[in-house]
């Protein structure tokens, strides 16, 4: 069974700061997704990465997939209060999710 570990579990920062959150697996990902979830709503897909070393950008968000496809990071530049939420990584073939990083961006 593949285990997905996300760190940190909680992160509270001021508006304008940069941050990075991580997702690590005990085995190789076939493909990895990052989601953002706001309280009381379903997760929303942000990105899918498939190829080792792949980097994808979505406005101020940069997603990186490790060369060995066992880890991934999400970097947010100049965080805004609207970035607040629970960030989840998931392995699609296993349909398994990490426990998430709860991000709070204070104005």
């Amino acid at each position: 069974t593949q285990l997905l570990e996300q760190s940190p579990q909680f992160l509270s920062i001021q508006e304008g700061e940069n941050l990075t959150v991580y997702c690590n697996s005990s085995s190789v990902f076939s493909s990895l997704q990052w989601y953002r979830q706001e309280p009381g709503e379903g997760p929303v897909l942000l990105v899918t990465v498939v190829t080792g070393g792949e980097v994808k950008k979505l406005k101020r968000l940069t997603f990186q997939f490790g060369d060995a496809r066992k880890d991934s990071s999400l970097h947010i530049t100049a965080a805004q209060p609207g970035d607040t939420g629970l960030y989840l990584c998931a392995e699609y073939s296993d349909m398994r999710f990490g426990a998430g990083t709860r991000l709070t961006v204070k104005p």
Binding site: L4, Q6, S31, Q33, Y35, G40, E41, G42, P43, V44, L45, T48, V50, L86, L88, A90, Y92, M95, R96, F97, G98, A99, G100, R102
Partner: protein, 110 residues
Amino acid sequence: SQTIHQWPATLVQPVGSPLSLECTVEGTSNPNLYWYRQAAGRGLQLLFYSVGIGQISSEVPQNLSASRPQDRQFILSSKKLLLSDSGFYLCAWGQDGEQYFGPGTRLTVT
């Protein structure tokens, strides 16, 4: 475009009562369908998934069951709810390696 609906949005049920949560998908055919449960502020636990009508796979032994009577309809049921069944239930559809979630049902068992 594809949309996914879940109802009800919130539900309060007594212990021992039955449960039926419904999920429907529009704008796609033969999707993979999933039921997840999420504890407060935590990650998602896969409960059931279906690759076609009448085909259900269960991930976790529990007090719940699922059915897929139509291609784009997925139902989560229980005959007798337990306190431990409380949580946020999410339905999702998947295709081409990605999943899309419904708005969820907040279930409180009292």
